[in-house]
Symmetry: C2
Subunit: 309 residues, 2 copies
């Protein structure tokens, strides 16, 4: 049985990952922002939860109470493009400063620990029309993307200079039950409130995204963390592109009533036309996502309707 | 007359640059680490000196006392590869955190200010045998290099997202009178102490470097800062390569006594075989260095001997 830590464990991915990893008979400890009573964090699979900044004091505190970790999933960080444009310095602190402190603590105190960092397809920026391989050099266009790119540089620095065991997963459009924000949440809210059988969405609907279900995200993160050799960086996507137009109609179909979906045609700053993973590397490592987008969206709509009862 | 700020102004480049810029009839204010009495900072060309961390409080304090700057030369940061390997987190704080705070302060308080950041050829890493153009993607191999690459990402982020007026100069091997560390200083010290007419140096002597005199460094920084359009990034080098072997013999010749220079053959971690600038871009912008390496080294040896009298 291994000891697993999850930073930013109270977030959407962290809660699911704790449950997934605990279900694999591992001991999971979490730390990050957020007050959380034991009943709740236990239900998510956490044996302990430390409500704290990711810094030297809190990391050593957790090590004193629960021993050194075998694996750390580093999910703490800024959570979205929009807020990072509004407040770039906060996003910097959440994504970059936490990473600098975590890796320095690992270097000093727990050199054998594997650290898996959550990066984002936002590091690639825009201008793509085909699946993006990991070795693509590009220019992010939001502080969120730049800061994730800086997180990756810190991983490179500590791996190249000190031989730490570090790997990066660049996550694409992660979705699933429990995510109370972003596109699917917005569509469900609009469907629920729609009076005239019509919903209005931003953009053209033509933007292509690569949707990875949270269960597939967890199995990918766990697979990467337990590989004999950690990949420096790996895309976390399915390789399949689905337009926002198709997503909206899949949600509407799953909702079960006839709705008309209208797009306002106005693209938002920070929205590239296409962000789809080249999955050659993850396939070579034996990873295949298991949940198709139709089933995944049905599950989200089901969760959404159950939770409001 | 413009108002110029220099962060890290008490360092080798900062002191020379203040003198150069003040000599061009500009008003220069400095901030950074280091207690400094007025006689001394005035002699370097500074009208005021603020001994402080680069943070929101000190930047606003300086703005309240001296007005908003037209140009900021951001020289604060870690200073060398070796110390960054010993203490990477300190180097991160000095290079990356100062930059995040400075650019955020400029975004909030002084949107029209031009900021010129000092990066380093260390961002390129190793494996080169020909001059390196600015658009080269490479892997640094020391925390110093990685952190400079992260500084550049912050510049990219604030320029792309907020339209700030930002430029980066990647400095190669900067040298000149007043630099009390690094290769020329070490050679002078060894020549001074040599009892048997022999000096021993690290490495093979075959490493190629691009030596830019501090006077040429200052004129390049000033030229870049006053261009109509700031270059995103520009190499700060001469395009000429000189081996460490040749440098050692130039210093020895300038010293004026016969010495034998011996290399121990052991390369240091962090020392690439060749780091030489492709100067196509700086030539297009009308910049040509004026001091050849022979004259530059004579000046350093002269300064070294005068200062110890």
């Amino acid at each position: 049985m291994s000891s697993i830590w999850i930073t930013g464990g109270k977030g959407f991915i962290g809660r699911h990952l704790a449950q997934f990893v605990a279900g694999n008979s591992q001991t999971v400890h979490g730390l990050g922002h957020g007050a959380w009573v034991e009943d709740e964090f236990s239900a998510c699979g956490f044996k302990s939860w430390l409500n704290a900044e990711i810094d030297f004091a809190s990391l050593s505190h957790l090590a004193a109470s629960s021993g050194l970790p075998d694996i750390i999933f580093h999910l703490a960080g800024g959570s979205a493009v929009g807020p990072s444009i509004q407040n770039p310095y906060e996003d910097f602190q959440r994504t970059v400063e936490t990473t600098a402190r975590l890796l320095e603590w690992v270097r000093q105190h727990s050199h054998q620990t594997r650290v898996i960092g959550a990066s984002s397809a936002a590091v690639y920026g825009s201008g793509f029309s085909t699946p993006i391989p990991e070795n693509t050099h590009a220019m992010p266009f939001s502080p969120y993307g730049f800061h994730k790119a800086m997180l990756e540089k810190l991983f490179d620095s500590y791996r190249e200079t000190y031989g730490l065991k570090l790997g990066i997963v660049r996550l694409y459009s992660i979705y699933g039950p429990g995510l109370e924000k972003q596109l699917l949440w917005d569509i469900c809210q609009k469907l629920e409130k729609s009076a005239n059988g019509e919903i209005l969405l931003h953009g053209t609907g033509q933007e292509l995204r690569d949707w990875l279900h949270i269960k597939d995200t967890c199995s990918l993160l766990w697979k990467v963390a337990t590989l004999p050799d950690l990949p420096q960086v790996i895309n976390g996507g399915t390789g399949k592109s689905t337009s926002i137009f198709d997503i909206a109609h899949l949600v509407s179909d799953a909702w079960g009533e006839k709705h008309k979906v209208v797009f306002n045609g106005i693209g938002r700053k920070g929205d590239p036309a296409s962000l789809v993973a080249d999955t050659t590397l993850s396939q070579q490592l034996g990873y295949t996502p298991s949940i198709n987008i139709q089933d995944g969206i049905k599950g989200v709509v089901h969760w959404y309707r159950e939770r409001s009862r």
